[in-house]
Symmetry: C2
Subunit: 477 residues, 2 copies
């Protein structure tokens, strides 16, 4: 049976989550490996997810005054080196271009791993007066980081992302923009991807190379590991001082600008898969699903069935992104394929349904079958898509809450890491030494100091000294 | 006067067209030079043009069944070398990556100058059966070609483009797709950018490295030079043989696929500027203009003027992409800025207009001033935008036709090159030697063998032997 084969080839997530993930990205036709080690190919089904993410995020960015630009993909070595922490963070993992055509370059250049240095160099020429501020620019592009170990969507040597880079007159304006964009990210994940997140600040150990503060949104995957899903950095005036970006203020004095940057990447596609997927494959929230409804005719060779299916397609296309699978595959194979690809709703309709003026709608997220009258099937489909979007967020939230453990001492902490996959909430003294020890002992890292602080105990879960912060910890992708 | 200054700094196009171009791209705030030699920065006003091009073209592509993908930006040297003509064409102008992080690569890789070889490598794994065909994929990305001389938008070491790559079962299918995409390009230029084009085939000398046939659309700039604005290539089975891309046909025999590729780039922005611009700056066709209407209030500090202008903005925003310039600049400066940026319509409204229930609309393309009643200003604005789009295409077509010369002998040909800037239509024997001689003698190149052939004379304009084709010639960007 072809239909069974398609599903049987997926490892179950309980058996081997990593293998399940690899199986799903391949079987749902999202990606392909390439001849370039560590770089992947986004196939149409995978790229369509990124297009939808891009379209929606871009709209939300523009609503906050963001303008798009495009800067070169190369960074001369001397430019990369201008900010000390930044170059230390990135130099070990960049790809170097040494020749242009047949000749060696006078100065080698790296392919951008991120573009802070290019934006600083650009802003230096663009900003003279307070009238030139703020600059709120973003670019959609690919970046390269020479990772040793790679996994589709989660970590690859080249990935797609957006990077926003802003310059402001005051520290307050920069901080406000940093937080504003983190909120845009969080709302986008919850509303569009149905992924609930924890918002917070990274510890100094985990912050971005060159940043004064890094804010993050952290999501919990089905296997209990955390995924950093978007970050927003406040640079203060550090880069401005390194690059000499100054403006004349209203009071006629020369001041340094304050800068931010913020980014989201194609790893969001990995998050989608690992938060919502199941043992039949991908499960897509309706808002991002390139196809929301797949109509599968039953006994399609019987006279009138395909005509009726086409008529239904016309009607449903007015309320949803609908498709009709009229290929000569068996219905069972079509069902398995639609499930594998995570299409939110399947509509089955055969001769007997037509006679009874009805169709059977099957929810991808729950498997629930609903027989509906053809008379008002449009409104039923619209309603179900909204319900699924809401239910998926609620289920993901319930899963996360059920996989969040409070630890008040180190024994509880270690027990949680070993036996309760998920987030661990625990108090921390603020010392890097405790973070290092926890990572060494358990492989768990600090995910963030959440904005919503709770007082779980008075002392650090690791050293027992006075606690200063409640921290989310976890194993992470 | 600040307003005059903005304009005075533009060189007139009659005086020095190249300098006029450079002035416009800078003054209209489209781009900025970067620290990376030969690479440019797309500023918001420039990138917005590309976004609009991308959005519209992508919609037209998808209507013909194109699916978007994303392939790596790197090509291993051994992969680039697989197709002989192709590597010869591109190897001299690629950027080479030799180090990843701190270590030298085992095999160096170039940054893609174009992705035929990557798509072939990809398709080899994806295509087994006739059921897998056709593949009609496209990607939006940046590419790198290590040019010696660069000019903003027209020729830079990195540029943005789309590249479509398709694989088909038969030679006929490949040829049909090659022509279909050329037509998509031509329609897009005429309809959206208001740029008329000549459709035709490139001579063997001018065709793409590795192609069996290259089709092109050629546009004429205001200075009489030609700009190749989009190309579509039929590869036959040449790449398929070099890469071993075969499929099992219905008759159970193994066959090579037939392939095409087609691309358009950010040089279209250069075309827009050079076809429509004037001595006051950019002139944008309404369909592509990011802002279509700029409202400039007169005596805006007078009570009620800004309120009324905001009310008008609300109304016009329903029918067009409208903005209100309520900054504290003088109206004259605002006019000059709106003209420089090529915004199709300006709406001026001061206290006396308000009293008379009217506003003054000024067309950017003609300078014509039209006093209209506020009662039906929306419909007047819609109508004018349509008229401008149509008129701009007609004017560009008239300019091209007035700058197309027929040459029936070599004296006429040389006279035309020297004294009549524009296209030259002339017969050709088909020999490469004549093309070479014409280029050496005059710097003019064959632009294309148009699909609409005319019989101008019996003999080749250069050698006097029997002519086989009518060719468009010209100096080109």
């Amino acid at each position: 049976m072809a239909d069974k084969k398609l599903v049987e080839e997926i490892t179950s997530m309980e058996e081997d989550f990593a293998q399940w993930y690899t199986d799903v990205v391949k079987k749902a036709d999202l990606m392909s490996y390439s001849s370039v080690k560590g770089c992947m190919i986004f196939k149409p089904a995978g790229y369509a997810l990124w297009e939808n993410i891009q379209h929606e995020l871009d709209k939300r960015f523009k609503a906050t005054g963001v303008e798009n630009v495009y800067l070169p993909m190369f960074i001369p070595e001397s430019l990369l080196e201008k900010e000390k922490d930044h170059v230390e963070g990135f130099a070990p993992e960049v790809a170097w271009v040494t020749h242009g055509g047949l000749e060696p370059l006078q100065e080698r250049m790296c392919v951008r791993p991120t573009s802070e240095t290019l934006f600083c160099d650009f802003y230096k020429g663009e900003i003279q007066s307070y009238r030139d501020l703020p600059k709120v620019y973003n670019q959609w592009c690919s970046v390269v980081r020479w990772e040793k170990e790679t996994r589709p969507f989660l970590r690859s040597r080249e990935f797609l992302w957006q990077e926003g880079h802003t310059a402001h007159a005051t520290a307050e304006d920069a901080e406000a923009r940093t937080q504003q964009m983190l909120n845009v990210y969080a709302d986008f994940l919850e509303d569009f991807l149905a992924i609930p997140v924890i918002k917070g600040r990274k510890t100094d150990k985990e912050k971005f190379a060159g940043a004064e503060a890094t804010y993050t949104i952290e999501a919990l995957m089905h296997d209990g590991k955390a995924l950093q899903s978007g970050t927003s950095h406040n640079f203060g005036d550090g880069f401005a001082r390194a690059f000499g970006i100054q403006y004349t203020d209203k009071d006629n004095t020369l001041k340094y600008v304050h800068q931010t940057s913020w980014g989201m990447t194609t790893r969001l596609i990995g998050a989608l898969i690992m938060v919502h997927g199941d043992n039949s494959g991908l499960v897509l929230p309706p808002k991002i699903a390139p196809t929301q409804v797949m109509i599968v005719p039953i006994m399609q060779r019987k006279e009138g069935v395909l005509d009726k299916a086409n008529e239904l397609l016309g009607r449903l296309s007015k309320v949803a992104r609908a498709k009709l699978d009229s290929t000569d595959k068996s219905p069972g194979f079509k069902f398995a394929e639609q499930e594998m690809r995570g299409i939110p709703l399947r509509v089955e309709m055969g001769p007997r349904d037509i006679e009874a003026n009805q169709a059977v709608i099957v929810r991808r997220d729950t498997g629930e079958k609903i027989t509906v009258s053809l008379d008002d099937i449009e409104s039923k489909v619209s309603e179900l898509l909204e319900t699924i979007q809401k239910d998926m967020l609620e289920r993901a939230r319930a899963h996360r809450d059920a996989h969040t453990t409070v630890a008040t001492n180190y024994e509880e902490f270690k027990d949680a890491v070993n036996n309760k996959p998920g987030f661990i909430k625990a108090m921390w003294c603020g010392d890097r030494a405790c973070e290092d020890k926890i990572k060494e002992d358990t492989t768990a890292t600090s995910r963030c100091m959440p904005f919503n602080q709770e007082h779980l105990s008075d002392v650090c879960v690791c050293c027992g000294k006075k606690a200063t912060k409640m921290v989310y910890w976890g194993k992470a992708y």
